[in-house]
Structure formats: C-alpha cells, structure tokens
C-alpha cells in the first residue's frame, strides 16, 4: 500500500493509458464502456489523494523511472496542478455514465470501443500535461490529447465533423509547433527541459539573453493561446464543438481548454514570472484586451446562432475570456476568479452540453427553432439547462457569480472600473442568448414533432442533474473551489518577480 501511495503521480497517467490500450483490445462496446467507466472512476480517487497530500505536506516531486530531475522526467504536483488534475478527472468520472447511450446512438455500437479508447488517450494526455514538470514532456502529452481529440471530433455523425476535425488538426499542429519552438528557445538558453530547473536558470540568466527569452515567451503564449482558443485564434473551436459527438463535446468543453489555460498559467507565472519582470512587458495589457474582445464578440455571435451546440461553443469562447481576464489582471482576487472559473465553467458548460446531448438523444435536433415547448416535455433536462444557464449569466447564488465576483473585486483592486462595467455588460449579452433558449423551451406551445419527447434515461439524467446541483452548491459553499483556487493564486503570485 505504502508503495502504491508513493507512485500515485505515475498511476494518474498509467491507468488511463493502459486502460485505453485495453479498451482497444476488447473491441466490444459494452465491455469497453465498463472498462472506461472503471478507469474514469478510479482516477478522481488518485487525484483526490494527490490533492490531499499536496494540501497537507506541500508539493510532490516524482522522478519517473527513478531518473532524478533535471535529467529525467519529473512529475511535479503542487496545489495548482493538483487542482487541475482533480477537475479533469472528476468531470470525467461524473459525465461518464452519460456516455453509454449517447455514444451508442451517435457513434454506433460498432465504433464505440474506438471512441472510448480515444477518450482514455485524450484523458491521459490532458492529465499528463497537467502533472508533468517537464516542458517537452508536456508537449508530448499535448500531442497525445490533441491527436485523440481530432479522432473524437471526426467520429461525429455530421459529415461537417470531418472538416471541423481537419481544421482543428491544422490549427492544433501550428499551435504545437509554436509551443515546441518556444520550448526549443528555452532549451538553447538554459540547456534544460525541467520547468523548475528552467525557471531557476532563467532567473540568473545574463541580461543579454532577455531578447531570446521574450521571443520564447511570445511563441509559447501564441501557441498555447491557439490551444485554449483565445480570440482571435478561436476559429477552430465552434465547428469542432458543434459537430463532435455530443458527449465528446461535453468532455472537451469541460476539460481541454482548461488544461491549456493551466499550461499558460504555468509558463507565465512559474517559469517566466521569476525571470522577467512581466509588468514591464505588455503581457497583461494584450491578454486583457483579447479577453474583453472574446467576452463581447463571442457573446454577440452566440446571440445569433440557431444551432444550440454552436451557440454554447461561442459562449465557451466568451467564458475563456473571463478566465484569461483573471490571468491578465493577475492579482490575488482576479487570479482566484480566473482559476475558480476553470472549475465553475467546467461544471456549468458540461451540464449545458449534456442537456443538449439529452435533447439530441430524444429529439434528434439541437436547432433552436425545432425545440419550441420542449420544456414541458423534458422538464428535468431543461430545468437543469435553466440552472446552468443562470450560472453562465452569473446570477447570484450560482457558481458563475462567484467567479465574476472575484474578477470584479480583482479589477476594482487595480482601480479598473471600466473592466467591471465590461464584465457586467458582457454578462447581459449572455442573458440574451440563454434567455432565447429558455423562452423557446418554456414559453412556447409544444411543436408537433415533439409529442413523444420525454426526459432521457436515468444514466443520462443523473450526471446532468448532479452538475446542475453543483452549479448551485458551488455558488453557496465555495470552500472547495474558491478556497483551493485562492491558495493556488497565492502560490503563483508568490513566485512572481
């Protein structure tokens, strides 16, 4: 037991990786699902233990294969990435039961084993990016998750899914290339790939290296911005989310961009933060400007969408703007707000996309004009949609309010009143697009084609209701979310020069 305990960081990655291989060998749909479910449910236990360990005894360093860092690959878990690991694995565990029927319908029994295999690979990749303390290893995991994501998207029923996956493939590859160039520059500068080691070496680097360092920062920021779909590098995301199988969208929207944001935070604060005086560079200004642009432009676009999955995808882009805003403002409150929004948005958006998945499962459409009056036919599904939608708007009493509150406090601490105003104004736009759906679903007479519709089976309904309840719960009790995010923010800001 003791032995297992010390290898927890490795288990976090090995379990889904081996699980993926096993699922690919099994090939039978239901057995594959069962295996995936077991893996998905074990992972949050592992990350929960890691988080507990980190919170009680401080960062964990794990030398993979016994090769000590900085030569070998180090898995390094501190409060920030323990938080992200917990988020990704918990979301995966909660939404997994939803997958069976949804995937069987949209991907087909025959191919669902491949789907689960890709999912586990993707999960392993995302967890790997979060856990590793090695910049190049992060690239490898990033590629694992990206490649499997392309497949997940391409498995969608709509033929446009292929185009969307292809577009994402090209853009993702460009992003990854930029990332590698950035890491390469750092390697030239420091001769090291270990993040902690790089940070230490950069901190004592001679001033004439600053130019190359800044170039590395630019490459890394742009490359990761592409991965996390920060405006204007977002164009791959709406199509990918709209046409991927419903459940893949649920998973990706809740986790993929979050891990990319984590990676950016890691580079900005833990690596460059100690070496460069970030306040003398216009990093914050650029990030804030792009975030505000994302908040408004994406929200406006969402208002005009008729495909609801696409609408929610644009809403995700706007919400990514909120998270990046917190990172841009970069003080205790705002960074807490940005980080806690990783969790809150994951919960709310997963619930919203699951509601869409349930709609598609029962009605076969997610077009706004075809779901008139669906609220009375599928009251629980659309009820959960309303709750999570209120969260997206940022209504007090929901998780979304907490994030925005911290962001507003952070902006006020800096004396940036305009940002608070923009924050509220952009929330008002989200009232429009969420309200449009609520109005159509609840206040219209039922359309003819919906007579047979009813709430989905329990396996799909329970995860949905659970996350809707979590939206409310984390709007009231924030010890678990804002508490840990606050600690992570403190930890990150402490490392700044």
């Amino acid at each position: 037991m003791e032995a297992l305990w010390s290898h927890l960081p490795a288990l976090q990655i090995v379990i889904p990786l081996l699980g993926g291989v096993l699922v690919a060998l099994v090939r039978r749909g239901s057995l594959a699902f069962a295996l995936t479910l077991v893996v998905s449910w074990v992972l949050p236990v592992v990350s929960g233990l890691l988080l507990y360990q980190v919170l009680s005894t401080g960062p964990i360093s794990y030398a993979l294969g016994g090769w000590p860092p900085p030569w070998g690959i180090e898995y390094r878990v501190d409060v920030l990435n323990a938080f992200v690991l917990m988020l990704v694995s918990a979301i995966g565990a909660i939404i997994m039961p939803f997958a069976r029927r949804s995937v069987a319908l949209e991907v087909g029994e025959r191919r669902s084993a491949w789907f689960y295999c890709m999912y586990l690979m993707c999960l392993a990749g995302l967890l790997g990016v979060a856990i590793t303390g090695d910049a190049f290893n992060a690239f490898v995991f990033l590629e694992i998750s990206s490649l499997s994501t392309y497949v997940l998207i391409a498995l969608g029923r709509d033929r446009r899914a292929l185009v969307a996956a292809f577009r994402y493939l090209i853009m993702g590859t460009i992003g990854a290339t930029f990332y590698v160039i950035g890491v390469g520059l750092l390697y030239v500068l420091t001769g090291s790939l270990n993040m902690v080691d790089i940070a230490q070496r950069l901190a004592v680097a001679p001033p004439e290296q600053a130019r190359a360092m800044v170039a590395a920062l630019a490459f890394l920021t742009v490359g990761i911005s592409l991965k996390l779909a920060l405006f204007p590098l977002h164009s791959w995301l709406p199509g990918a989310y709209a046409y991927a199988p419903s459940w893949a969208t649920v998973f990706l929207s809740a986790t993929a961009t979050k891990v990319a944001i984590y990676l950016l935070v890691r580079f900005l604060f833990s690596i460059f933060g100690g070496a460069l005086d970030l306040r003398s560079l216009p990093v914050a200004e650029i990030l804030i400007a792009l975030s505000v642009a994302a908040m408004f432009i994406a929200s406006f676009i969402a208002v005009y969408q008729s495909n609801l999955k696409r609408m929610l995808a644009y809403s995700s882009l706007a919400q990514i703007g909120y998270m990046m805003l917190g990172i841009g403002i970069a003080n205790q409150a705002a960074l807490t707000g940005g980080l806690v929004h990783l969790v809150n948005h994951a919960i709310m958006k997963a619930a919203l996309f699951m509601a869409m998945g349930s709609l598609f499962y029962r009605v076969g459409t997610v077009r706004l004009t075809e779901i008139a009056g669906i609220g009375r036919k599928m009251p629980l599904t659309m009820g959960a949609f309303v709750v999570a939608g209120l969260g997206i708007i940022g209504t007090p009493g929901t998780a979304g309010f907490i994030s925005k509150w911290y962001l507003a406090v952070g902006a006020l601490d800096r004396g940036w009143w305009v940002l608070v105003f923009l924050l509220v104004a952009s929330s008002l736009i989200s009232v429009l697009y969420i309200g449009r759906v609520i109005e159509m679903a609840w206040f219209r007479p039922a359309a003819d084609g919906l007579a047979e519709a009813k709430d989905p089976p329990l396996s799909m309904l329970l995860p949905l209701l659970l996350l809707a309840a979590a939206t409310i719960y984390f709007g009231i009790d924030t010890r678990l979310t804002a508490g840990i995010a606050g600690e992570a923010a403190q930890f990150l800001l402490g490392g700044l020069r």
């Binding site: 853009m171 800044v214 630019a218 911005s225 560079l281 406006f300 005009y304 007090p396 010890r479």
Partner: protein, 563 residues
C-alpha cells in the same frame, strides 16, 4: 463558525414539503411551521450566532438582538395568522410562495451583513410576486410584472450599494450607514423603494389591490416592514427621513379619499402609516425609534386585519368597489365587527393598538421641536380616521344597502381575524407588556389625560366632518356619477398631461437624439453584420486565414515586447 441557522430557513425549507402533503395533514403541517420556528427562536440567545465564511467573506446570517427579535415575533405571528386565514385554499403555489416569502422576510430581519440581506431581499421580491400572480388575471399578471421589476430593481441598487460600500470600508457588516458615501446612498434608495417613499411608492397601490384575497394580507405585512426594519437599523436619525416621512404620511390621504377600490384605499393608508414610521426613524431618539418599530408591529396586525376583512368581502362578494357594496353587516356580522376593531386600531382610538404606538412618534416629534411635522402628522391622523377608520367599514358594511346577500366568511378566516383583533385590543389595553419588548427601555405612558382627550377630540372632529359631508351629500362616492366623472376627468387629465409630456419629450428626444438614434441602429446593424450567422466573425474562417491570424498574433506579441 457557529452552527445556528436563521429561523427563516425553517419556513423556507419547510415550504418545499408543502406540495407533497394534502388535506388536513397539510393544514397541520403549515400551522406547525411558524410554531416550530418560534420554538426554535426561543432557544436562541442574543448575539451574532450564524457566522458563515464563504470565499474569505465572513457573513453573519443570524444576528439576534431586541430589534430583530421584535420584528421576528410579529412576522411569525403574521405568518401564523395568514396561514390560518388561507387554510381554505387549495392553491399550492400560494401556500409555498407565502411561506417562502415569510421565511425570506424573517431571514432578512436577522441578516447581520449586507450580502445576506441582499439574498433574502431578492427572495422576498421573487416569492411575493407569486401572491399577486395567483389572482390569475391579465391585470394581476401585468401588475405583478411591474411590481417584480421595481422590487428586483431595488435589489440591484442594494447590490451595487453594498459592493461600493464594501470597497470603501472593507466591511459587509450591516450596521449604521451614512448617506454621504455613494454606497450608503444607493442602499438608502434601495430601502426607500421597498419602504415606498413618495415618488418611489407607485408600485404599492398598483400591485397590492391586485393580489389574491389572502396574498394581499401577507404582502401588507412583510415587504414594507422589512424596509422599515432596514431603515431603522441602517439610517436611524437621518434627518432627511423626517420630511420624507411627513410627506409620505400626508399625501396618500388625498388619494385614499377619492379611491373607490377599498383594498386600494387600504394600500394608500398603508403607505401613510409607513410615513409615521419613517418620521420616527428620522427623528432617531430612543422614544421615536421605539415608536417607529412599535408602530410597525401594530400596523402589521391592524392593517392585516383590515386587509383580511376586505379579503373576506372580496372572497364572498367578488368585489371591493365602494360603490357596489353596502349593507353587508346583515350578511357578515362577524367580519363587520373585526373590521371595526381594525379601523379603530388604525385610527388610534384609545384602548386600541394604534393609540399606544402612534402617540410615541407624535410625542417624539413634539419633544424634538418639529412643530410643523407634528401638525402634518396630526392632520394625517385625522385623515387616517377619515378614510380607513370610517370609509372602509362604512361603505363596505353599512351605507345604502346594495342588496347583496352572501354567507359569512369561512371559519378559518374568522379565526384569523379574531386572533388579530384580540392582539390589537390586547396591545391597546395593556401597553406595558408590549413596551417591554421594544429595543429601548421606556417609561412612556400613553394613557395620560391630555393624550386621550386630544385624540378623542381629533377623532370626533373627523367623524363630524364625515357626517356633515355625508348628510349634505358632498362626499364623493355617494354621488356616484360625480365620482366616476371626477375619476374619469382625473384620469383624462393625467393621461392628457402624460400625452402632452410624451409629445414634448418625443419632440425633444427626436431633436436631441436623431444622431444618437442613427448611431444605435447603426451599432445594432453593425453587430449583426459582423456577428450574425453570415457575419465575418461568425463564419468559419478558412484555414489559411486562421494561420495568418496566428502569425499576426506572434508578430504583434514580438513587436509589443520589443518596443
């Protein structure tokens, strides 16, 4: 963290079980809720009990002191009475809304910080609107909508105010606030809307008469009294409240006299009673504050009683238009009797509750040297007797016989009214016990010779005026056609004035905003052109474009970094 929770939560959470129960079980359960909350309240010591830490903020959800206790007592009594009064109803929505509404009001009373207050403040707004909507008429739906907009608007002001206040002071505690800071001012406005300050009051006579017979009783008890409590807590002794309260006490009188809908008359008289309380809070002396909260306590009971009697009439006859009623005392003798008790209380007859509470405010005004305030309040007292004390019972139950015959009110309504009436008389006859509950020690004696004589004189004079007006046939509602004409004129005048103002405003607006209007429509078209489904920003960009953007971004970063 201390583990005590607000007694309001007993009602709020308890309400959620109501839909599951039926029949007698539901009745017993609903009666048990306020009793349980009261029993729980008795176990609580005084102090800050419900400290909760949320996201680094320390919230105080349960502050028990004499002021909050007094309001909680009367709210629980009102809840119990209203539950009894509504027992005959099968409308689950109303029952649940009523309990959540009462629970939110109690939660707000115990809120020790502004954030908790805000949450319950919104709870009050949202739960109460269902009591208006439950009338299920087009009219009530619209009135409820207007009510909701204004109430939520008040909540938004409160939120904005508390945020600014928090920024400036770093504390969310709900203590004494000042008007000189923007935060305090916004909070004051939020309270003012709920307390129906003049000009901000329009929602009250608009919405209350459109509630259900039972719902309006609740509405009259909680929303405005929470605001009075909040003012007493936050703005006691604020000078501006004295003129505001004085105007508030006087102006609704005129509306009440010409109004035909008796529940609207009561709504105006509610507004006028609130004026007395606001003056008391503005005076800010111990006696005045005691008077204000005591009057709030008494007002909940006697105004509730009057609304209950009118509710019973509405329930049995289907209308509360003064011109269509009359002679009902033959059919509803008990209701008539209770209504007269309520009328006597609100008119401050000696031995009824209004007398022992209102006179405290009047005395305080005199002691502080506000002679004109005292005069206006005196006039308002006479006016109250005139429109609420005489007009209501007279036109509903006596006057000319309308020929309407109906059953006496249902037993549960009578029981509820009897409890209220007993309390009204009890407080009036034994003020000493009641004074013991007040926030400040008091040696005030209401039954001195000059008080009693002055009050009785005033009442008789007012009664005399009414009698003369009736005898000579000048009193408006008796001259039905004249009254309708007057009302019609009043409406037409109002409308033509509005129309004129609108036309003038429109012209000015057009002149002013031709450019601006173009700007707005241009902006909307612009947003649609770029963000609409076919817009540049929403179209899927070709891969080449995306790649170009990536390069541009990299170039931008490098340029900005090296600049």
């Amino acid at each position: 963290m201390t583990g005590e929770f607000s007694p309001g939560l007993i009602l709020i959470l308890g309400a959620l079980l109501v839909p599951l129960l039926r029949g007698r079980l539901r009745a017993i359960y609903m009666l048990a809720l306020p009793v349980a909350a009261f029993a729980y309240l008795l176990t609580l010591p005084q102090g800050d009990l419900g400290i909760v830490n949320i996201g680094g903020l320390s919230l105080n959800t349960l502050r028990v002191d004499k002021l909050s206790l007094l309001f909680c007592y009367v709210f629980l009594i009102a809840t119990l009475i209203c539950v009894v009064y509504a027992l005959h109803l099968r409308d689950t929505v109303q029952h649940v809304a009523a309990l959540i509404y009462a629970g939110s009001a109690i939660g707000a009373i115990f809120a020790g910080d502004l954030a908790t207050l805000f949450i319950y403040w919104e709870g009050i707004a949202i739960a109460s609107v269902f009591l208006i909507w439950s009338s299920r008429t087009e009219e009530s739906y619209r009135a409820g909508m207007r009510y909701l907009i204004i109430q939520v608007g008040s909540g938004v002001l409160l939120l904005a105010g508390l945020l600014i206040h928090y920024r400036q002071t770093g504390s969310l505690a709900f203590g004494v606030l000042a008007l000189d800071a923007p935060g305090g001012l916004l909070i004051f406005l939020a309270f003012g809307i709920k307390a129906a300050f003049p000009i901000l009051h329009a929602w009250l006579p608009d919405a209350y008469p459109r509630g259900t017979p039972t719902g309006t009783v609740l509405l009259s008890a909680f929303t405005t009294k929470v605001a009075i409590y909040a003012l007493a807590r936050g703005f006691a002794g604020t000078d501006i409240l004295i003129p505001i309260g004085t105007v508030m006490a006087a102006f609704p009188i005129f509306y009440a006299v010409i109004e035909n809908d008796l529940r609207r008359v009561l709504a105006y008289s509610l507004n006028n009673q609130l004026g007395f309380m606001v003056v008391g809070i503005g005076l800010g002396t111990e006696l005045a504050l005691n008077g204000a909260v005591a009057h709030a306590f008494a007002d909940i009971l006697f105004k509730g009683l009057l609304f209950m009697s009118m509710g019973a009439v509405l329930f049995r006859v289907g209308t509360v238009k003064g011109s269509e009623l009359g002679g009902l005392y033959k059919s509803m003798p008990w209701t008539t009797g209770f209504c007269i008790v309520g009328a006597a209380s609100i008119s401050a007859f000696p031995l009824f509750s209004g007398f022992v509470t209102k006179s405290m405010i009047m005395t305080a005004a005199m002691e502080e040297g506000h002679f004109w305030v005292w005069i206006v309040l005196l006039f308002a007292s006479a006016g109250v007797f005139h429109h609420a004390g005489i007009k209501i019972p007279y036109f509903a139950f006596f006057a000319h016989d309308s020929g309407k015959r109906c059953q006496e009110a249902p037993l549960n309504m009578l029981v509820a009214m009897a409890i209220s009436a007993a309390l009204c008389i009890g407080i009036g006859c034994f003020p000493g016990l009641f004074y013991g509950l007040l926030p400040f020690e008091t040696a005030y004696r209401p039954y001195t010779l000059d008080h009693v004589v002055a009050q009785v004189q005033l009442l008789f004079l007012s009664a005399l005026a009414f009698t003369i007006l009736m005898r000579t046939g000048i009193y408006p509602p008796e001259l039905r056609s004249v009254n309708l004409d007057a009302e019609w004129l009043y409406r037409r005048l109002g409308r033509s004035l509005l129309e004129g103002a609108r036309a003038a405003g429109e012209a000015a607006w057009k002149l002013l905003t031709r450019g601006f209007g173009h700007g707005v429509s241009f902006a909307i078209a612009y947003v649609r052109r770029h963000h609409g489904p076919e817009g540049l920003l929403a179209r899927p960009w070709p891969i080449g474009t995306m790649a170009v953007w990536t390069t541009i971004m990299l170039a931008a970063y490098l340029v900005f970094f090296y600049l």
